[in-house]
Symmetry: C2
Amino acid sequence: MTAPKRFYEDFAIGDIRETGRYRIDEEEALAFARAYDPQSFHLDAEAAKTSLFKKLVISGWLTAAISMRLLVDVRAGEDSPLIGTGIDELRWTFPVVPGDELHVRSEVIEKAPWPGGKPRGIIRFRNQTINQDDVVVMTYIANGIAPMRG
Amino acid sequence: MTAPKRFYEDFAIGDIRETGRYRIDEEEALAFARAYDPQSFHLDAEAAKTSLFKKLVISGWLTAAISMRLLVDVRAGEDSPLIGTGIDELRWTFPVVPGDELHVRSEVIEKAPWPGGKPRGIIRFRNQTINQDDVVVMTYIANGIAPMRG
């Protein structure tokens, strides 16, 4: 295995990354809903008309999963994966519908050494998932652990 | 459409629900990882040995998606879906591996009318996702909106 390329020390508060884009098609939205979120407003366009959304929307957990995929892809080739430990203040702020194209904007907002002296640190990111009209559809703070250089 | 069966007023602080169980097989874990979280410690048992986990673990987002599925199933037949608005304090507290069988314990911890007088209220749940050995693998607070009775 090659050495890690991106350590705790390499993340600076204020660093911003923009991911690529991911278009959600209806087939994927329905398959995810059938497996993990089989509520009528995620599965059935007709039934969704009487829901709070008035139309079929994709599961918020699919938006979260796609956001993860976009972030993994933008880090591809860095042999130092951040290990996610948790999520804070996740909000689904705007409906996502099949056909939408999402990307993520991720900013380092905090970092601190891991308690106890292990050569690791905690990094916090503020992530925004944004649609093709520049509307923020989901926001969250992601907490991760990264190894230290020495 | 039939009338909603479970309104804001029907949720009481302290109410606890236990879901059914969901066994994660390796095929599902790998398919999810390939689609949404293609990191080596989710995809490749050999590569995972050198990761922080020392073994292949499932994506935390799959644990979250399965928790949603378990909660949807336990509410099946209630024609008043809670609309999820966000998640707080999500923590992945223990590794989940293929073959694990998960269930969710969900407790109502807060409720409040929606600001502005619309006939809706906000309900907060503390959810724990638990494995077959009674180890809590994920905890989070889920925020939802439910319609009021009148």
